[in-house]
Symmetry: C2
């Protein structure tokens, strides 16, 4: 039970709201801010001055509008403020330096050997950051680090595979900050959650408060936004939709159960349905989806079968969450595009009309960048919550 | 995008926080309020005076504590403030007059003929309220009405059955207020959502921020609380877990799909498994659960079968939501109690260790009162959000 905020808390909330607004929407005139934030002109002026004094925004005249009258000053995110965003993926590591406002200043990428441990991952991530750091201007201000991790967690005994493990993620964030000499631990989230956050903030799901972002690779997880907020569950393990059993006594799953959704729609399921061997990732999916597109009957049958199961699970989630949008990310993007008819057909047959009639099925617009964009948003969360106390 | 609150909004937030605190926790000393709400003594004094002047709280000396020193004044919900709570159930209608603070002053109950339409339901509900109103003291202050509705929605064409229909619920609330001559429409919610709210506020799930309340009767729905907030979905249709398909090509469901969870764990499933005919409700469940408890082998087999499917779906929900608690309400209470071993066994086999290790399986402590208690909480929401503007 908490009471309302104090005077000082209000000011900080307002500073955060203004900074978040220009971070998301880009350069904005004082007049627009007054309307968007519901604050009067003098308050906007005072907040902007505070943020400018802290080096978080700049103010200047607008680009020529051609209109008469004195133009309203435009508030811009200060281009010197930046965060590092990192992404630990199945077969590669990525890093980017991303400015307040979302501009990507620099990128790095490195291969990730299969099964690389955390201990071995941290120095590789840190090396990419250190390399980017060498060319950062002296005037630039680093405000945090965010890391997206993909389905890669496998306990020591090899029996459990999860899309995320909060303890492991915390450890990763701490080791990384130690390696980089950064004061605060990097904020770490799983790829499904952060992709959902990215698409919700800067992608296809802007303005949607109820979103399910399905992410597929060897496993399947979901980033879920309900009522505008990320659903993470009690211990941070929420969204393990890949382990929703859709087929009693179906194929054995790495988790120890049988018939989990990911045994029917993951990469291995697609390869198995097509009678193919091979590794994973986009090439595996492409090795089935591409021949299917070119008319190969057995590949088409495999795509239809997997698409049918994809729609099956989506229908269940639509009944449970009544979302506005379902986004198909990771390897599920191409599976969905190749089997949209099956997915839609299952949805129509299985989901309640009331739950499905407003749901839009979409692919990510940020594509491969979603984990990095989401990791950057995570890195900025602290600053945006309390701009003047994040130093 | 909204900025922080104004001075006046803070005051109203604080008034709401204080009133909510005594509404939930009962009589509380000023000293405790200072600690609980994080406000200083003079602020607590001013807020209390405002609420007392508005007739929402009273202040007085504490019961004798035996301690030395001047005792802190105790703030109590004003016993004159009340709401009407109503519950539309499969076979009965209930009503109660419930005071701020949660005390039940009066109750009424009436049978509900099967298939009774909304038009016919409203006058019956109103009649119970009018009867209670006759003996309300002149000094009493009515602040709102709340209604819980159970799974009863069936579209005109008979093909869709839902646990709730927001449009229908809005219409019910408006017609009821017209009938009663109350200015504001009654707030309406479905029984699963409101039972979850009730148990979260005053029952077994106090302090749990991630809760799934399963409610069974002819259908199965869930009230879901994630991160401390009710999950309702885009159109208000979220929580239709009874239509999660658990058995591809299973029994046909009223919704038009096959193998929905409720076809395996609803009342009809239990009767079918036991080879019995009959109506629904608690008597139907009792007609199987009771002989099972007394050693009837076929009833025991039926309970085990249904319990196995109950655990199956719970495991899926645990993987999706990572809740702290799952509550078995409605007819699922007795099914769960009779088959806890099967439920637990399925959970262990199917749910990820990380998701299940902290989950508690519970039955409601508010029992049959949960819908009424939840309806009252709904009725009080407006007052508690803004105590001085709810007149």
């Amino acid at each position: 039970m908490r009471a309302g905020p104090s005077q000082d808390e209000i000011r900080r909330q307002n500073l955060g709201a203004l900074l978040r607004y220009v971070h998301i929407h880009g350069p904005t005139s004082r007049a627009e801010l007054t309307t968007a934030l519901g604050l009067n002109r003098s308050t906007i002026g005072a907040l902007t001055s505070d943020l400018a004094a802290a080096g978080l925004v700049t103010e200047g005249p607008p680009r020529e509008t051609g209109r008469a009258g004195r133009p309203s000053l435009v508030v811009r995110p200060d281009p010197r403020v930046y965060a590092f965003a990192l992404s630990v993926e199945v077969d590669r590591l990525r890093a980017a330096r991303i400015g307040l406002g979302g501009e990507v200043f620099a990128r790095r990428e490195a291969p990730r050997p299969a099964g690389l441990s955390t201990d071995a991952t941290v120095p590789l991530l840190a090396a990419m950051v250190k390399e980017m750091r060498q060319v950062v201007p002296d005037s630039a201000v680093h405000v945090g680090d965010g890391v997206a991790v993909c389905a890669m967690i496998r306990r020591e005994d090899g029996t459990v595979s999860l899309n995320s493990d909060p303890d492991w993620m915390t450890a990763l964030g701490e080791r990384l900050s130690t390696e980089l000499g950064h004061e605060r631990p990097a904020a770490v989230g799983n790829v499904s959650d952060l992709s959902a956050l990215a698409e919700h903030t800067r992608g296809v799901a802007i303005g949607c408060d109820n979103v399910i972002y399905l992410y597929g690779d060897v496993g399947v997880g979901a980033g879920i936004i309900a009522g505008g907020r990320r659903i993470t569950g009690h211990g941070g393990y929420g969204g393990e939709v890949g382990h929703m059993v859709v087929r009693p006594n179906g194929h054995p799953c790495g988790c120890g159960s049988r018939g989990c959704w990911e045994t029917e729609i993951g990469e291995h399921a697609l390869l198995r349905a097509a009678g193919r061997e091979g590794g994973g990732g986009d090439p595996a999916v492409f090795s089935v989806v591409d021949p299917a597109a070119r008319g190969d009957a057995s590949a088409q049958a495999a795509v239809r079968q997997v698409g049918d199961w994809l729609g099956f699970g989506v229908a269940n989630l639509v009944n449970i969450f009544n979302p506005e949008m379902v986004i198909f990310g990771g390897t599920l993007r191409d599976v969905y595009l190749a089997s949209a008819a099956q997915v839609r057909s299952r949805l129509n047959a299985m989901a309640l009309a009331a739950c499905r009639e407003h749901v839009r099925l979409r692919t990510p617009v940020l594509a491969d960048d979603a984990p990095l964009v989401g990791a950057a948003e995570l890195a900025y969360e602290r600053l945006l919550a309390d701009p003047l106390d994040a130093g």
